[in-house]
Assembly symmetry: C2
Homo-oligomer: 264 residues x 2
DNA sequence: CAGTGGTCTAGACCACCAA
DNA sequence: TGGTGGTCTAGACCACTGC
């Protein structure tokens, strides 16, 4: 491990970070597992513990690793209860007392998911737009999924209310063998299932949000009128190495829920 | 500076951080100014440079301080061009190629603000809701402002399009002397003006987003039909010490713009 | 050139966890 | 009790800025 020559100087810890990232990508340490201790990594890379520390610090800040004092450093996973809805910002109005940072977005209040209905699942060829977003060629294989999520409102009273309609496109090459059967029988959240079944770990996402009215079909699926204003959330989700692997368009009902965002 | 006794142990750097925060709050160092060098602060607090460093690192991560190699560490300000729209996530569709993190939210593409029209400015008594959000008592003095922001679309062609309608409530005690005149004659962005004129530095905010239809009055001000779906963004903005000081409800047109959010 | 933040090291010690 | 991450130090050196 050498410090670099002048052109675009990259500090040591940053090179170590890249090496750790490489191991994560290669699956050397799986989600949920512990990575080697800081001292081990230091001797492995021939640097001091402090340098490894700084590399891990950054990866932890990006939610790729989780540090636990006294136990070790672990690969982030969507399987743990606290991060299951890491990318879902829609929360009940009763939750989130507008105290940013006071708690995670997950499961505050009574955000009880009652029902996940898969309304479509098929292998398709990527349209131009989907291909561009997933960095594929038009016509490449993609998996298309459509589903409806229903929640119970306050205190679990009343019946389940269809709240989210999602259209999902996945890069076909990473999800060989995914079909309606396997989807339907999985009880885990989707991203947790992607992780355990396909070794795909979602790490980051970018969303574009608009207000729209639903089409007739969409209104039907969500059981709303066509003049109901809905949040339209276009997401691109990425794995390690900034590889886009999922495009997801969600339609959210926001009558008794809202999209929560903390700015800093 | 002593390391603390056992009950709820707080590390040294964290105590230093609190002290720096205190000085920021007290206005010892003003926005835009440099704070003392790490070495100075270290000797001032009687700790090592590394400890001060870690305290500053956290404040920099929270965007309260800005580090500039070779120059010093500066108090964050809304006056600099790059952070003027730090809390505005609405960007033109042409910008933001869905490459999260690739650039800031400000001024990418052709996000040209053409016109800021103040449609109301008065001193009012806080309603129950506003009072609660601002941690005041119902009936306490607040400043109410309403304004419309108009932008030019792609390449500055065409006329200005009213795009954002904002209702703003400010804690009266912090904005004595703010009136329509002073508002109207200020050319700077609102948060920059708050900073220079009232010593109020917005540091953090929390937003709740919904899809709604406008009222008749709102539709009028934005020059849209009443069935146009709009983004409704309820923001509470905070100064140092997590003190809420502004409530702002925005109605955004999202026909050719979107609210951009990066999840991580 | 001096002054600032940025990196890297080596070592001591502390807090937390599990066995 | 031993192993892990977390804190703190002191010192050396590097990269960047402005005089």
């Amino acid at each position: 491990m050498q410090t670099q020559v002048t052109p675009s100087f990259s500090p040591l810890y940053s090179q170590i970070k890249a090496l750790i990232l490489q191991s994560l990508q290669a699956g050397e340490w799986k989600p949920g597992e512990a990575i080697p201790s800081e001292i081990d990594l230091a001797s492995r890379y021939g640097v001091s513990q402090g340098t490894v520390r700084k590399a891990i610090d950054e990866l932890a800040a990006e939610n790729l690793l989780i540090r636990r004092q006294g136990k070790g450093t672990f690969v982030a996973t969507h399987a743990t209860r606290q991060v299951q809805t890491r990318f879902l910002r829609l929360v009940p109005d009763s939750a989130s007392e507008n105290n940013p940072g006071s708690d995670t977005y997950a499961e505050n209040g009574k955000n009880i998911l009652v029902d996940r209905t898969i309304t479509a699942c098929s292998r398709e060829r990527a349209t131009k737009d989907i291909a561009k977003a997933l960095r594929l060629k038009t016509g490449d294989a993609v998996v298309y999924i459509q589903r409806v999520l229903a929640y119970k409102d306050k205190d679990g009273k009343g019946s389940a209310i269809p709240t989210i309609l999602e259209d999902i496109w996945l890069a076909g090459s990473s999800f060989k063998g995914l079909n309606l059967e396997r989807l339907a029988q999985s009880k885990a959240p989707m991203y947790a299932m992607f992780e355990s079944e396909f070794g795909v770990n979602m790490v980051r996402a970018s969303e574009k949000i608009r207000a729209v009215n639903p089409s007739k079909e969409q209104a039907n699926l969500l059981q709303v009128k066509m003049d109901e204003p809905l949040l339209r959330v276009e997401r691109i989700a990425y794995t390690y190495n900034d590889t886009p692997i999922e495009v997801r368009t969600g339609l959210y009902r926001t009558a008794s829920r809202h999209y929560k965002n903390d700015l800093q």
